[in-house]
Subunit: 347 residues, 2 copies
């Protein structure tokens, strides 16, 4: 195992789009979503085993979740958990984590993975990540992992490649496309030019630190120190601040059964369905004339439902949510309204 | 208070049409449906206070519910609770209860009331019942309380009166009409000829015992004894076996804010509504684009719902039911399917 290979698992999200199952106090990455007996964070960690030395696996998270991370990953040393006192999205988080790793090993090449994704073919994942780590370690490129679309998904970001600058699985990125309208997504899925942006990255620590200095230099002094000041940083994603701006970004085309379980819709898309296209997640249910729903109930509860089409029916703790599956963005409003009206015990 | 006046409160039903709130183990008459702090049985009992001497109030119920009745009505003596070992509907139940009262007082006039009805104007109710008890005590008539319809309800039975044989509020009954189609109900609500069958009756004990002998004589020997044999009786209602057949049935026209809370739809009709015509029963909810629903959630649970129209959303104990409000008869199927598939803990 190459001792210069590192992994950062990002586990600081609040997962609000998955409310009410995902809660502020215990977001989805800390839950056993698929009833496998393992939380999504644990599954993400195990995906890195054998790829990166155990002592080279870092987890970034919000300070409120430190104890949960320790409980789920007791094998981590204290300094492998990088905590943030304020949520400032992925760019400040990765700038600080990269600084920490650079101090420890200036020859590090880092694989960055979210903690809330579904990867069905772990062997393929590991093989591809090793290839990417190797490429990134000596190319001076920022690698963004891209997935060949299998459906016209409008909930993901897409990346367009420049097919003329291609080196095997690695292609220069032409442009980033935010969640597209369906008519565009339908075109994207047909060609070989557009890929899902997986949110998985690989880069040499010096390459990414250079990119941070070039693109968000004003913020760096706050983060390149032993006591980072997150509160002074802008709330900004790595995609927006670095990947869409740098000109050395390459896409690695991968295929390992990937899904970003960021929303109920994406969970629906990624999950097996019954004959009426309902996704029933570890739930007892009796359905009559119900189609295309996603259902998640507590273990001890039975759902009897009639005539529901394209709904999310999710009960968790003190909240039951019944809402249209195709109106995902509304959940943010529901969560905010709930917090305002009923207090933070419900969000 | 006239010592010859008696009351029978019928409290033996299983309330399946109200599943999952009403459960085999604890049907709706034993629940505080309206969050008043009192069960429906308790409310029914208190409606008889002042009308009938406390020792003349009897409750009929299934043997499984005896302890619940005692708990709700601790003022009852043992012999005031008349238990049935088998459920055989209202006719056998009332035949036996009437026999019990006749033995104790052959001059009794009896008011029979269900334990699961809503009566908003109790003063009017008491006044009307006293009038009915007086009429029944010396007329040799069987009185069926009728309510002037206020909407074209298709869930209730109707009674047509013969306006030519009228004595104040008391009119001879022409015919009984089972739950009518909407087009008929719309006609019924307009005239003065059709009344809702309230399921409340008043009769002298000798009048009803005579009717039992005339109409179900074969059953009487099993019930006119100290150890009634319900299992040998047919499962038959008092309406079908006596009221629709006897020719001395009179309707007393009453108005006391009555509703038969027999189904979710009737509960919906009887309850106050929000601006979007939702009935929200003691439940925390945040509704978006939801109209004409009836919602009953546990006290500690929040419902957040979007885009539901004409639904029952009822959660109680280990069951969540979401089904169309206008497909009431389906609930029986849901309960049966649930019992078959998930066992009796869910019904």
């Amino acid at each position: 195992m190459n001792k210069n290979y590192y992994c950062i698992i990002m586990a600081g999200g609040t997962g609000r789009r998955f409310w009410p199952y995902s809660r502020k106090e215990l977001p989805k990455q800390f839950l056993d979503f698929f009833g496998t007996g393992k939380t999504m964070l644990r599954m993400s960690y195990e995906r890195c085993e054998g790829l990166v030395a155990p002592e080279n696996i870092y987890v970034t998270t919000h300070i409120d979740y430190t104890d949960i991370v320790k409980e789920i990953l007791p094998e981590l040393d204290e300094q492998q958990i990088i905590t943030e006192e304020e949520r400032r999205n992925t760019a400040p988080s990765l700038a600080y984590a990269s600084h920490v790793i650079q101090k420890s090993n200036p020859d590090a090449t880092i694989l960055v993975i979210p903690s809330d994704q579904l990867i069905l073919n772990v062997d393929n994942f590991k093989r591809a990540m090793l290839k990417g780590l190797d490429f990134a370690s000596n190319s001076g490129k920022l690698i963004n992992i891209g997935i060949k679309p299998t459906r016209p998904e409008t909930g993901y970001g897409y990346i367009q490649i420049d097919d003329e600058e291609r080196d095997g699985d690695f292609c220069k990125v032409k442009t980033f496309i935010e969640k597209p309208a369906l008519e565009f997504a339908e075109v994207f899925v047909q060609g070989n030019e557009f890929y899902w942006n997986s949110g998985i990255f690989i880069w040499h620590v010096n390459t990414i630190m250079k990119a941070f200095h070039e693109n968000m230099n004003d913020v760096c002094p706050d983060l390149e120190c032993d006591t980072p000041n997150f509160s002074s940083c802008p709330n900004i994603s790595i995609d927006y601040s670095i990947m869409e701006k740098a000109n050395n970004v390459y896409l690695q085309i991968c295929d390992f059964g990937w899904a970003d379980i960021g929303t109920w819709q994406s969970l629906y898309d990624a999950s097996p369905k019954d004959v009426n296209h309902n996704v029933i997640l570890n739930s007892n249910s009796l359905l009559y004339g119900c189609n295309n729903n996603v259902i998640l109930m507590p273990k001890d509860k039975l759902l009897v439902a009639e005539g529901l089409e394209d709904y999310i029916i999710a009960e968790h703790k003190n909240v039951l949510l019944i809402c249209k599956k195709d109106n995902q963005s509304a959940i943010r409003k529901y969560v905010n309204d709930t917090e305002m009206k009923f207090g933070e015990d419900y969000v």
